[in-house]
Symmetry: C2
Subunit: 540 residues, 2 copies
């Protein structure tokens, strides 16, 4: 548990001095990227991934100081504590064992003296068996037809990771299956989905660890009513993923099957648990899902076992802290040059911003240095034609590019104009990193490019399930390494509580008014009252 | 044309002093929102929209100073110049007349002494006539079947606005029509779309003002080959939207019809021109598209004719400058509590960041104050379960909420638990603005909410085409008002040029290698060479 501020380490002061040095004109990125053998010091390979940070505003001395920071902060030891089942989520007094979900080694993982791996394996086996029955149509809907539509009811961590993986691996999907996400309590979300599905071939997957998430319960209720009106048996059309012994297991909750979630896996880290396992195995096949898990496992091992200076997610985390706290960038973009990865940024936006958008050390004191960063992104080249004007000439923000060597759809690797579209895509990726870094002098201020805008590039061989697992686990490890550096707890999220509390009060006001049309919202402040009156009057 | 810096106006110094005053504890938002009659000074209605800025960190004196800034900067006069056809895009020496596209008044708009409205109306009429022939199946594909699949080939401004509007109005779509966007040169984008369409009922809409956009031409070529292999006549399956007399009109370009784009309408402002008009009229019907235009026209009139203090987009622009330059927020989120608006943030991300992510005054000098801001967003309540942890307890950023009083799908306004899901959605919207502003003291630092986090709220009566038009035109007007305040030209985008130039060089290297497998990329720097070798070796 971190009780120290970053400034408590002598190396932090040196890093601040180093940042001033790196801001000098002679250390402009246009010079750095031309240094002899730049890639020898700025390119890492590991766990099937390539990570290039040659376009970051660092030199060898910067990296040595950052490595020293990682060692002083003992962040590899924290990672080992995490994967070993220690109560690293100190505010909620529990372990954070998402890595156990993709462990195939056979070794035990002890939590409070008990090996949790048998439970993990049981859930995996249960998913495998269930999915096989669905795919073979041994289990069908209440009219006997095989399932073809899968609707995940879940919000936040209960769907964003699954959405990312399902989108990335869409070409692997079982041909008859379609997958939908009902996350928002907004009835438009529900209305649009039910206008596309065929109820008798629809399996609803209700995902909530606590089974108290208001959005999820509200959507599940709508789904129950909808299916009942169609005359379909709820207990044939709903499965749940929820905490063992929790309210999801109430006898009144209809379920064809239930799958356990564990307290020691947080929502935003749960895509390799049953949260992702049930929908992804149904959609992609269990074999594909397990290949994805094995890629994640490989990256976990790399993150745990690799020394600081060769550790991909750890170096990436050090660069986050460097950019965020020492060079002062408030935001970061993720730009995959592969449109199947278009849901990567929304997933990492949650993973990073909810994990590390914190103001306190894990031990409870206010942080001296801000943790967390704003994360956003769209695929390239689309992003070039959207917000890259600002990236080149407005407020700078670091970028993480992702490139893929072998695309799917090789039949469209045409090269009628001498270069294939895939080569055109790569020409753009390479060009953007270069142009952002190097800039270009121009006598006309409107055509001047200041350059010095940092980026990293991740390269994957292809979009195999293993590589998607590696990429996911890279970001998970990067996020927790960042937290270990900043000193915050990446596994709690007290910052979302106040909004819930205030919403409870307003919901109560609405409930009172629903029962009494003369009620004047007397418990609300003037502005809430105005909105409630507007809502009930129907006239903005 | 702006030649002055913000600091050249005496009111700017007063605003800086005012910002210091507003940062004092007694001006914390938790106090401001409770001020008597706060909404009387902080709520505007106009052009069918409600705009509430009671949760911004301002008081009456702040607003008076901001109004004074708007008057000193003469930004209403600039808006009038714009809609009147003056050459307000000074760096490219042309007018910016997107507002003319939705003008139904019959009044002329002169540009260089010539009324452009007849050309605008001709295009509108041509769209109407063409769409009617497609919908009646008087015009069909080459096998005689009615068109059912519409694929827009276009990138950036040629699709983002259309995507936003088509998503917002999806329920209005002509029942047989499906709409796809092929924007990215990535063959995954192409591969996924062609796996969903039926070629003989597909109409491709190629959109590029210059008809030189590499992504669009590369995708069009793939589409030609694909359709030819299916034995379909290209000239029956492709329409183009492009500049009159431009290369799109080359006799070799296959086309069933062509629609004019005008030099005086920039890509990111073009959704009300033929760029949006052709696909949206085909998808939604021309009547719906024209209703959308009329909503936009109403907002344009409001923006032009309404005094500063009552002008919705103008006040919103003043608050952007206040938040960006005087309170120091580097980013802004757009959070619609209506999932059909889920493509609003990506569209406004382009509109705002490409328009105003600039470093120079329109007149050419370097800006003293940064223009532009980072824009991102996801629908609520999804965003609450994703990145709102950081919004409440990490780096603060202002938020623009959007709420809708009357949802679609009233059949799902169930209230089995006493409140409907739509009421639940509203309870959350109201709660978030309150919680962010008010915060909550707590002895435990991890549970302490600092509050003082600003937001505005836009309220629409419903998701009618008119309201989507109003919302679009609100953001267009806000964006240009911001530019007029900052002093930059919102209509050029020189910042995207360098990346294109570098990509041209790299494309040439690839072309050389495609023709000579021994070529060693000798014209590239060491890092580009490494990537090119990796790409050609197939091994990362």
């Amino acid at each position: 548990m971190n009780t120290k501020q970053l400034k408590d380490y002598p190396v932090w002061e040196k890093l601040k001095q180093q940042a001033e040095i790196m801001k000098q004109p002679e250390n402009h990125l246009k010079h750095l990227i031309l240094k002899r053998n730049r890639l020898d010091t700025c390119l890492l390979k590991g766990a099937g991934m390539l990570y290039d940070f040659s376009h970051q505003r660092i030199d060898e001395r910067t990296m040595r100081l950052l490595f020293k920071l990682a060692e002083s902060r003992k962040i590899r030891a924290s990672f080992t504590s995490m994967v070993s089942g220690e109560s690293i989520n100190v505010t909620e007094e529990r372990a954070a064992l998402h890595t156990a979900c993709r462990k195939f080694s056979g070794d035990p993982v002890f939590m409070d003296g008990k090996d949790i791996m048998p439970d993990i394996r049981n859930v995996r086996d249960q998913i495998k068996g269930f999915v096989s029955q669905i795919h073979s149509a041994a289990l069908t809907g209440s009219t006997g037809k095989a399932f073809r539509h899968l609707v995940v009811i879940g919000i936040g961590g209960s769907y964003l990771g699954t959405e990312f993986v399902s989108c990335a691996l869409q070409e692997q999907a079982i041909s008859r299956m379609k997958l939908y996400f009902l996350s928002n309590v907004d009835i438009h979300n529900f209305g649009r989905i039910v206008s596309e599905i065929e109820p008798e071939t629809t399996l609803w997957i209700v995902i909530s660890k606590s089974f108290t998430t208001p959005e999820t319960l509200a959507n599940a209720r709508l789904a129950y009513e909808f299916m009942e009106k169609k005359g379909l048996a709820l207990k044939k059309h709903f499965v749940i993923v929820t905490r063992k012994g929790g309210p999801g297991h109430h006898p009144a909750t209809p379920k064809l099957a239930s799958f356990d979630m564990f307290d020691f896996i947080g929502g935003r880290y749960s895509v390799t648990s049953a949260v992702g396992g049930v929908p992804l195995s149904l959609y992609l096949g269990n074999e594909t899902f397990e290949r994805f898990l094995k890629g994640a496992e490989e990256m976990d091992r790399h993150a745990e076992e690799t020394p600081v200076s060769k550790n991909l997610p750890l170096v990436a985390a050090l660069l986050s802290v460097w950019n965020n706290n020492l060079l002062g960038y408030p935001a970061q973009a993720i730009i995959p040059y592969a449109s199947p990865l278009r849901k990567l940024a929304p997933h990492i936006q949650q993973l990073g911003m909810e994990s590390n958008g914190k103001q306190v050390l894990a031990a409870g004191d206010r942080l001296d240095e801000p943790a967390g960063t704003i994360i956003f992104g769209e695929p390239g080249t689309n992003a070039q034609h959207s917000f890259f004007q600002l990236a080149h000439q407005g407020r700078p923000f670091p970028i993480e590019f992702v490139g893929v060597i072998h695309p799917r759809y090789p039949q469209y690797l045409d090269s009628s104009k001498g270069v294939t579209n895939h080569q055109e895509l790569w020409a753009n990726l390479i060009a953007q990193a270069t142009a952002l870094a190097a800039g270009r002098e121009d006598g006309s201020p409107a055509r001047h490019f200041p350059g010095n805008r940092p980026s990293s590039t991740i390269v994957l061989a292809d979009l195999s399930p293993e590589n998607i697992g590696r990429l996911l686990a890279f970001y998970e490890a990067k996020t927790v390494f960042e937290a270990f550096l900043w000193g915050n707890n990446p596994f709690d999220q007290f910052g979302v509580e106040l909004g819930k509390t205030v919403a409870d009060d307003i919901r109560q006001e609405i409930l009172t008014r629903n029962g009494n049309e003369n009620y004047g919202f007397s418990k609300s402040d003037q502005i809430a009252r105005y909105y409630l009156e507007t809502l009930f009057s129907g006239q903005p």
